[in-house]
């Protein structure tokens, strides 16, 4: 067999639903990885033309510039309410929000709890980078105890500002279709995260209630760490407070 005769196989290509443009994210940021996973899942499920995304306020505010799907842009924290409005009016569409931790776990806590408690049939992609990225790295409810941010310069004092917010504890009583936490560093984690996203969209389209995937993501810029160090911090420190796995609707149960 000559080299020309070796069969070629495409192992990776850019999902068509993603626009060919450079993202505005910092080096080492995994917002782009999360976008790609969502894009791949929508494409593989044949949901591209059926999907409506709800962007949130944070570094991912311009997510709609990268996706060739319909999008709306919510006010800070209100994406689950907006998604509710869209899904109720267009019940056969795939409606998802894409939110950061300041957006979802702080200012938007009311809207996400409301949507979860009503069992709203939407998918929520929640990117947790333990701080407010866009505004320059302030403390969030997800910030780790002792973690220094621009608004916790002495390290977060959990006694005064609370322990990291963990959705699986907070929402244990809600009837949710799916609830899982993945991480966006390392090939194995990324593959697993994609499976979670796929499962969330499938259960959402099967009308099983609110489906939720949290994705731990490094924010090298605001963590003041080089990308590789940020990756280590995520795996070594962040996962201590935010265990990876499926908490509701997973295969294990």
């Amino acid at each position: 067999m000559t080299l020309a005769e070796v069969p070629t196989r495409i192992v990776y290509s850019r999902p068509e639903v993603l626009d060919k443009r450079v993202t505005h994210y910092c080096p080492g940021c995994t917002h782009g990885v999360a976008h790609r996973l969502v894009a791949e899942v929508l494409e593989e499920m044949g949901e591209v033309e059926n999907a409506i995304g709800v962007a949130s306020v944070g570094c991912s505010v311009f997510i709609y510039n990268y996706f060739n799907i319909d999008f709306v842009e919510a006010a800070h924290g209100r994406a689950p309410a907006m998604a509710t409005g869209i899904k109720r009016l267009l019940p056969d569409r795939t409606v998802f929000t894409y939110q950061g931790d300041g957006d979802l776990a702080s200012i938007g806590m009311g809207e996400i709890v409301g949507a979860a408690s009503r069992g709203e049939k939407i998918t929520v992609i929640f990117l947790n980078n333990a701080n407010y990225g866009m505004t320059g790295g302030q403390m969030a409810p997800t910030t780790l105890p002792g973690q220094k941010t621009t608004s916790s310069p002495y390290g977060k004092d959990a006694a005064r500002f609370g322990k990291p917010f963990r959705i699986e504890d907070a929402y244990s009583g809600f009837d949710m279709g799916y609830l899982a936490r993945g991480a966006l560093v390392g090939a194995a984690n990324i593959n697993r995260a994609k499976k979670m996203i796929r499962k969330a969209f499938e259960k959402h389209m099967d009308n099983q209630g609110l489906c939720y995937v949290e994705l731990l993501s490094p924010c090298p810029t605001n963590w003041n760490l080089a990308p590789l160090k940020a990756k280590d911090f995520l795996l070594e420190e962040m996962t201590k407070h935010f265990p990876l796995g499926e908490f509701k609707g997973g295969d294990a149960k």
Binding site: V48, E49, N50, A51, I52, V54, A55, V61, F62, Y64, F67, N68, I69, D70, F71, V72, E73, A74, A75, R78, A81, M82, A83, T84, G85, I86, R88, L89, L90, R93, T94, G110, E111, V113, G114, S117, R118
Partner: protein
């Protein structure tokens, strides 16, 4: 269709439904709640979405999302709830998607009370949310008028891709009056081109209010302002009573306008040449008619259930050419026609001036009556 005795809130809810309401999102608050309750029964009956939201913040953002699908959607609330909606209203205005808001105004500020008031004029008419935007604001003075304005509210919102607010005082919402409801309209079938629906063939639509480039954002602002000028040119609505030969004119909207009408009628019986101008669209404000009246009359009296919010708009039109006096009751107190008549007697019977502060003069008089 025959008239029936019906409560304002229920009537507006039913009128909205019959105008083809496709989605309702709200939160309980007195004196608006019957509206939400009525739709909680009627919408599911017709297979249309009804959601009692977790808060007014949730409700307005659900409406925001639903409006992005191009369907007929609305929410309703009362003053404190509407305050909470201001963020969403600004976003909706900035995204140029149509919706209807019903504000059944109650006494404030703060938690205030559940009595009828008009203290939301400023936050509704002059924009309680951030940035430059306007809503069309309709102010009915009876249950029938509220019903009639409901379908119009949707038509105007959709025509101009804007928010229309039906601002009615708690009394219109709570009062039972005979009213004729419109027949049931079929739901609209066409989806506006801008509405999100899922991008077929990569033909995607993005609805957003963010624009990081100031010159581009200014262009967007300009578009909103031009649209508002068009609304001002075409959509002014008001009712004039006895204006033909009037030497004095009372200006009042909603319930205050209706009470003032009783006083004006009584004054007419006494031979006083007085009329009433009752704006139906408080935004756009009936500037031209007021301007014409300014040339003709001796003085104006503005009557409101607040501390003189529309009063400022009247003064802007009159521009000191004629005296403009003010009479208001606040905090949920509804004036009696007799009180307005007394004010009319004072307006007509004592020399009026364009000097000094009419509001100070009114507060001094009010202090004498209520201590």
């Amino acid at each position: 269709m025959a008239k029936q005795l019906i409560k304002g809130n229920t009537a507006v809810a039913e009128a909205a439904l019959r105008a083809g309401l496709e989605g309702y999102f709200g939160y309980p608050i007195t004196p608006q709640t019957e509206l939400l309750e009525h739709l909680s029964a009627r919408m599911p009956e017709l297979g249309r979405p009804f959601v009692q939201a977790e808060s007014e913040l949730g409700a307005i953002n659900m409406v925001y999302g639903a409006a992005c699908t191009g369907k007929r959607v609305m929410t309703s609330s009362s003053s404190p709830g509407v305050s909470l909606m201001m963020e969403g209203l600004s976003y909706i205005a900035g995204t140029e998607v149509p919706m209807v808001l019903v504000d059944v105004v109650r006494g404030g500020p703060g938690l205030g009370n559940i009595a009828p008031a008009q203290g939301d004029y400023n936050q509704i008419v002059h924009g309680g949310g951030h940035g430059d935007y306007h809503m069309i604001v309709l102010a009915p003075a009876s249950v029938q008028e509220a019903v009639d304005l409901t379908a119009l509210a949707f038509d105007l919102a959709e025509k101009y891709r804007t928010i229309t607010c039906i601002m009615m005082d708690g009394s219109i919402g709570q009062m039972m009056e005979p009213a004729e409801l419109p027949p049931m309209q079929p739901l609209r079938t066409e989806i506006p081109d801008w509405a999100v629906r899922g991008a077929k063939n990569g033909d995607k639509r993005v609805l957003t209010s963010i624009n990081l480039d100031p010159p581009a954002q200014e262009v967007m602002n300009l578009r909103l302002m031009k649209r508002w000028q068009e609304i001002e040119a075409n959509e002014v609505r008001y009712k004039g009573y006895f204006l033909e030969d009037a030497e004095y004119v009372v200006v009042g909207f909603g319930t205050a306008g209706r009470i003032a009408l009783s006083a004006v009628r009584a004054a007419r019986e006494e031979g006083i040449k007085i009329g009433l101008l009752r704006p139906i669209t408080v935004a756009p404000f009936p500037i031209d008619v007021l301007d014409e009246l300014t040339e003709k009359v001796k003085a104006f009296l503005v009557v409101e259930m607040n501390a003189g919010q529309m009063f400022e708009d009247v003064r802007l039109v009159v521009r000191g050419r004629k005296p403009v006096e003010f009479f208001g009751r606040m905090g949920g107190v509804v004036p009696f026609p007799d009180e307005v008549l007394t004010e009319i007697h004072r307006l007509v019977g004592t020399p009026q001036t364009t000097e000094g502060s009419p509001r100070d003069r009114w507060l001094a008089r009010l202090a004498e009556t209520i201590g």
